[in-house]
């Protein structure tokens, strides 16, 4: 489904992503973990078309990507951002936010699609005409997910979708993402600094450090500690150590 080969992204003199390669099968979830500045979000922005200054080869569903993306591409690939407070237009109702992709792509039956979209992310129909500032963080992120799904994409790029949420809300959103993937056969690329979140949602994980993917392994190997690269091992150790409550 997604093929990335030799992707490099530069910001001026800094090479943020260096010759990155990975592939994601249809219906698979692929996770990218790394610390801030490792270039993990830059990969997503290049894939989504938000950053046109890249070199290398990216293929989605057999189509090689160019810096300029077609409408068709945007129908197929959608993104969910980290901060649900920042990714929803402050002056638009949920209804308006959800109808935007429908209008852009000239899709039929907006009324039914909006109601179904809200239902799919388990939001009550009463939030339809509310503004983002009237919703909780979890509700906003659900709206963002519903908006991404409006044009019926096949690929969802998730940029730290739960790191701005409370842990109990994070659990709900992660469950929702699992359900949606099963129901729609979506392909996910999830970027996160949280190894546990990535391992929970994804079968395979790429570990990034300073713009390079230093290791590519299965989530099971990551859980079991069958790691090759010392950076992966140290990230894992820390995560395991801090996620269990201290016991006496």
């Amino acid at each position: 489904m997604i093929e990335v080969d030799g992707l490099s992204v530069r910001f001026g003199r800094v090479e943020a992503v260096k010759a990155l390669s990975f592939g994601v099968a249809r219906g698979e979830s692929f996770g990218i973990v790394g610390e801030s500045g490792s270039g993990k979000s830059t990969v997503l922005r290049a894939l989504s078309g938000l950053n046109p200054d890249w070199t290398g080869r990216m293929v989605i569903d057999g189509q090689a990507l160019t810096p300029h993306r077609s409408k068709e591409f945007h129908r197929q690939v959608q993104m969910v951002f980290q901060d649900p407070y920042g990714s929803l237009h402050p002056r638009q109702t949920v209804d308006r936010l959800l109808s935007e992709p429908l209008q852009v792509h000239g899709m039929d039956n907006p009324e039914r699609r909006i109601l179904r979209g809200l239902n799919e992310v388990a939001l009550p129909a009463t939030v339809r005409f509310r503004y983002p500032h009237q919703l909780s963080g979890g509700q906003r992120q659900r709206v963002a997910i519903a908006r991404a799904l409006m044009a019926e994409p096949q690929v969802l790029l998730l940029d730290e979708p739960t790191s701005a949420l409370d842990v109990s809300v994070q659990a709900e959103v992660l469950n929702l993402l699992v359900d949606l993937q099963q129901a729609r056969g979506l392909t996910y690329i999830l970027v996160s600094h949280n190894l546990a979140v990535v391992a929970h949602l994804c079968g395979r994980v790429g570990v990034m450090q300073a713009g390079e993917m230093v290791e590519l392994l299965s989530a099971d190997d990551l859980r079991a500690g069958r790691t090759q690269h010392p950076h992966t091992a140290s990230l894992r150790e820390l995560s395991i150590e801090l996620e269990e409550p201290e016991t006496t």
Binding site: A196, H200, P245
Partner: protein, 276 residues
């Protein structure tokens, strides 16, 4: 006791009357490390800030007792409060980007904090600033002292913040989500540093966080807050034996690397939690 809080209440006026943001909160703190854990809006920051009376201007604060080292914070005037704030109790905030002055070097800011509380000459203060930076385990304190905040990484900025708070040699440190903007490795380093400094200097620490397991590693005691109330208070080591369903829910809904779960447990909030 360094801090004693009995029946603290923080209210905010709304269109429909007063709404309680914090209610019935009682806490005591000695020379120990206390974690306050809760979700956003649970009142954990408000509770800790009440001790310094650093609340939004429209907040209404009341308590049966609210003392800092026998000083009655509720009745203290601005002068008395200023002698507490920053001097005897330091506050570390989430993002050093916003709490450091962008047009002053790190060293100058620490030196200023030092002089404000202890007096002394400029030269002396500058030397003290470098000493403090060394104490927060910065390898090249001279270089960092001459850097501006935007030249520092998040972890480095937070160390500078901590150094600044240590300048007046406070008895209490309040750390309000000090590491949520930082990477996991840096987060652990900073928390270890805070824990170490607090233990060595015999200070009291209030660590506010939304991450329950994390807090348990660095605190002696944990108070769990929900909707403005403390629902459970227990020794950090007893977390797995927590009684309250909310505390257990907080622990249960976390995905873990250690073991695989097909679905995460979703917390079922019980209205009766609000009644205690």
């Amino acid at each position: 006791m360094l801090v004693e809080i009995r029946n603290l209440r923080v209210q905010f006026p709304t269109a429909t009357g007063l709404s309680d943001a914090v209610r019935n909160v009682s806490l005591t703190l000695g020379q120990e490390k206390l974690g306050i854990v809760g979700e956003s809006g649970s009142g954990k920051s408000l509770t800790a800030r009440s001790i310094l009376r650093l609340l939004p201007s429209n907040a209404i604060l009341s308590a049966d007792k609210l003392t800092f080292d026998t000083i009655d914070v509720l009745r203290a005037d601005e002068n008395a409060l200023r002698r507490i704030r920053g001097a005897r109790a330091g506050l570390i905030l989430q993002d050093p980007k916003y709490s450091l002055n962008p047009v002053m070097t790190a060293g100058a800011q620490i030196a200023e904090a030092w002089r404000a509380h202890r007096g002394g000459g400029r030269k002396l203060a500058e030397q003290a600033a470098i000493d403090l930076l060394a104490q927060v385990q910065i390898r090249d304190p001279k270089h960092v002292a001459g850097s501006y905040p935007h030249e520092l990484s998040g972890g480095m900025g937070q160390r500078v913040m901590i150094a600044m708070m240590l300048a007046p040699d406070p008895e209490l440190l309040i750390a309000d989500e000090p590491t949520s903007a930082l990477d996991a490795t840096v987060q652990a380093e900073i928390l270890r540093l805070i824990e170490d400094l607090v233990s060595r200097r015999g200070m009291g620490l209030i660590l506010i966080s939304h991450d329950l397991p994390l807090v348990s590693h660095f605190c002696d005691r944990v108070a769990v807050m929900y909707a403005g109330r403390i629902v459970e208070e227990l020794a950090a080591g007893d977390l797995l034996r927590a009684r309250h369903p909310y505390t257990r829910g907080l622990l249960g809904c976390l995905p873990t690397l250690g073991h695989r779960q097909a679905r995460l447990t979703v917390m079922q909030r019980d209205p009766s939690w609000l009644e205690t």
